[in-house]
């Protein structure tokens, strides 16, 4: 009897936490899934059961399609650039004792700044008539007329990406730095004793050893980038046209501007499925890459 209790004690101890986590995770999901099968509005939830009509509608919704494409383009672009520059900076700063502390402090500033403030700063920078960017571009003779960064459909999404890269590269830098600093010293000392060149050490030691962490950083950052909302809301409201319409912002418009919570729920579930599929594929890809490195 005592042995049985002793055997199951750890499981029983964990059970309350497990149940709480299960409820916290599943309840909203079940709620959204249920509401997505109805024509609910914000004040009349669970009215007019329509099965998969909202999902059918989503597949023919051009704006939703555009928003998904924009979301993927945005997320993969900024994540790749941020991880690349974050790693480069971290690698350069890893050896730098004097400037390292200052750099780490500076890197924290964009992370401490509220996203709304960041968006306002960039809105002022991009302003065609009084913005810093146009002022200096014209002063230095690089352009002859003002550039409407947020008003041109070809430039609006890259302009939001630039703001996002400024905001999130330090995040990648700090994580990459932590990854680099956690590497064991012995292999590097041995390589130095053997007279290996800097490039050889980087290619044969640093990169393979740090790759698993870098891939995790990429994945982590990608999942955050897929949910971009604040910069779009503050800078362009999804325009011009639908050139910066992203999935989170479109779901917000459907759910809280048009109050169609049933349809908004269906869009949320579809985005959730898409992100889950992407995360699974990328995790599999990570395993493949790691096997090759080994």
């Amino acid at each position: 009897m005592n042995a049985t209790i002793e055997k199951h004690t750890p499981k029983l101890m964990v059970l309350p936490t497990f149940l709480i986590l299960l409820i916290i995770s599943l309840v909203p999901l079940i709620y959204i899934l249920s509401i997505s099968l109805t024509n609910s509005t914000i004040s009349k939830p669970f009215t007019d059961f329509v099965w998969f009509e909202n999902y059918k509608k989503a597949f023919t919704d051009e704006v939703f399609g555009t928003s998904l494409v924009n979301t993927l383009v945005f997320a993969f672009s900024v994540t790749t650039i941020q991880t690349f520059f974050g790693f480069l900076l971290a690698y350069a700063m890893q050896q730098e004792r004097k400037l390292g502390g200052v750099m780490r402090t500076l890197a924290l500033l964009p992370l401490f700044t509220p996203p709304v403030a960041i968006a306002m700063i960039w809105r002022l920078i991009y302003d065609p008539n009084q913005g810093l960017l146009n002022y200096y571009l014209m002063k230095w003779g690089l352009v002859s007329g003002v550039i409407p960064f947020l008003g041109d459909k070809r430039l609006a999404l890259p302009s939001i990406m630039l703001a996002d890269i400024w905001q999130w590269t330090p995040f990648c830098f700090l994580l990459c730095l932590a990854a680099l600093q956690s590497l064991p010293k012995d292999p590097f000392e041995a390589a130095m004793v053997d007279g290996a060149s800097g490039w050889y050490v980087f290619k044969r030691l640093t990169l393979p050893m740090v790759a698993p962490q870098i891939i995790v950083i990429f994945l982590f950052r990608l999942l955050i980038a897929l949910k971009v909302f604040d910069l779009v809301y503050m800078l362009t409201f999804g325009g011009p046209g639908n050139s910066t319409q992203v999935a989170s912002f479109y779901i917000y418009r459907v759910s809280f501007k048009q109050f169609q919570t049933g349809y908004g729920g269906a869009l949320s579930i579809l985005v959730l499925i898409l992100i889950s599929v992407l995360a699974t594929l990328l995790t599999k890809g990570r395993e493949t890459i790691l096997k090759r490195i080994e």
Partner: protein
């Protein structure tokens, strides 16, 4: 398949149970007839700095020690602060302001009631959202309140265009008119005089003035600033200025969508053409960008609300003090062409069904509706434009805004065009905003954009 149906059925039942467990909105009382407080019907209190020997002691005030939450929009923050101060002086009640961006006010009010939070007592609402608020049971019905307070309220003093549009759904009223916002055309005299141009009376003249100045100034200034940022209030407002004057409308006389009528398409074509010469780039120009260009003499003309004169004459923010003129919006072409004043961004005030302090909320509503209090908030800078005929005729108001603006407002009332207030409007305005923006960005022709909007509206309305 049967198993799948069972699972889905279970999920739906579970969801419904969860919904049933969510906090329900507080039971709403039938609107009580509310006699105006003594403070509300008496003449407005003098300026705060002046002593008031006849006023009752704070301890004797009717609502002393109570607090009321008033939902207002950021551009009206100063006006709301004034109201809070005056109301506290009159009744002893403290007014806490819940300030949100202008385009979030309807969703904030709806979510407050539907979530069961019930924090808000009195709501300042953007009038196209009135139907949405009523459909979601957010505003108290004021029919009885109007009957009981007619003697001092003087409903006949409200401009009819505001009174019915801002407050009435079906046969019932749910609010009072508060801010009568309509667009006029403001122009910068020195810039037009430099090119020997007159303020435009037609949209063709407007295009000519805008083009002449923009081409002449070579980037130093622009003939016009057009607000075309992708927000319903901004973009549809700018379009309505043209739609109405070209003789078009959102719906025909039978209530069917008519957004792709020849007049509507011509109006959008005109907007797209004008935007080529406007302050770059209309798609990214919202209030801040337009005002920045206007105050710094970089825009020759701007379509803006009636309180722009007061803001422009503030030397702290403007370089063009006293250098502006104002006229009604230009007339559209052809037989159907007319001069209009679009009521973009008008606001009403109502009592939340979720309010836990109904007596206090109705007292505050009465205070705002008081003609003498209205006179006070219409004659200080705060972004509130008159909704009463008596305010517009008042010498203090004419002196405050200047005779030219008062005259333009008076003329504009005869030609006001308004936004729909139907409960479906918030759903309908989204595809219109998308398609107007797509036309401005060149992704669709005006005809395509409005055909697509018509199709979307017919689907939404089941026509």
């Amino acid at each position: 398949m049967k198993k799948l149906s069972h699972i889905l059925g279970m999920i739906v039942i579970l969801g419904m149970l969860l919904a049933a467990c969510q906090p329900a909105p507080a039971p709403t009382e039938a609107p009580k007839p509310q006699a105006p407080t003594a403070a509300a019907v008496e003449p407005a209190a003098p300026e705060p700095a002046q002593p008031e020997p006849t006023e009752a002691k704070p301890a004797e005030k009717e609502f002393a020690g109570q607090t009321l939450n008033f939902l207002t929009i950021q551009p009206h923050n100063v006006a709301a602060q004034n109201l809070a101060t005056w109301f506290e002086e009159a009744t002893g009640a403290k007014v806490e302001l819940i300030v949100v961006p202008y385009d979030n006010v309807i969703e904030k009010a709806v979510l407050d009631v539907t979530s069961g939070a019930n924090e808000i007592d009195v709501i300042e609402y953007w009038y196209p959202g009135l139907g949405t608020l009523v459909e979601n049971d957010v505003l108290e019905n004021l029919d009885q309140w109007y009957v009981d307070n007619a003697s001092w309220l003087k409903p006949e003093d409200f401009f009819p265009v505001y009174f019915d549009t801002f407050t009435k759904i079906g046969d019932s009223r749910y609010g009072i008119p508060y801010d009568g916002d309509m667009h006029l055309l403001w122009y910068l005299k020195p810039l037009l005089e430099k090119y020997d141009l007159q303020a435009p009376a037609t949209w063709d003249e407007y295009l000519n003035v805008c083009k002449t100045i923009t081409e002449g100034e070579k980037g130093e200034a622009y003939g016009c600033a057009i607000m075309g940022a992708k927000s319903p209030l901004i973009l549809i407002g700018t379009y309505l200025n043209r739609l109405g004057s070209f003789g078009g409308s959102f719906f025909d006389a039978e209530g069917n969508p008519s957004i792709n009528s020849p007049e509507a398409v011509a109006a959008l074509e005109a907007l797209v053409e004008q935007s080529k010469y406007a302050l770059p780039t209309p798609s990214a120009v919202a209030f801040d960008e337009a005002l920045g260009a206007w105050f710094s003499a970089k825009a020759g003309m701007v379509e803006f609300w009636t309180d722009l004169g007061g803001m422009t004459d503030d030397p702290a923010s403007s370089k063009i003090v006293g250098e502006w003129g104002v006229v009604p919006l230009p007339k559209g072409p052809g037989e159907k062409g007319r001069v209009v004043a679009s009521v973009n961004a008008g606001f009403g005030v109502g009592v939340s069904t979720g309010s836990q302090k109904k007596d206090l909320a109705f007292a505050f509503l009465s205070f705002i509706a008081n003609p003498e209090v209205a006179e006070r908030y219409n004659t200080v800078v705060g972004g509130i434009d008159p909704v009463r005929k008596s305010t517009l005729d008042n010498p203090a108001f004419i002196e405050f805004v200047g005779p030219a603006v008062a005259e333009a407002i008076t003329a504009a009332h005869a030609n006001a065009v308004v936004w729909p207030t139907d409960a479906k409007w918030f759903t309908l305005q989204e595809p219109l905003t998308d398609n107007l923006s797509l036309a401005l960005s060149g992704d669709k022709t005006p005809q395509q954009a409005l055909d697509d909007t018509q199709k979307a509206w017919e689907e939404i309305l089941g026509k």
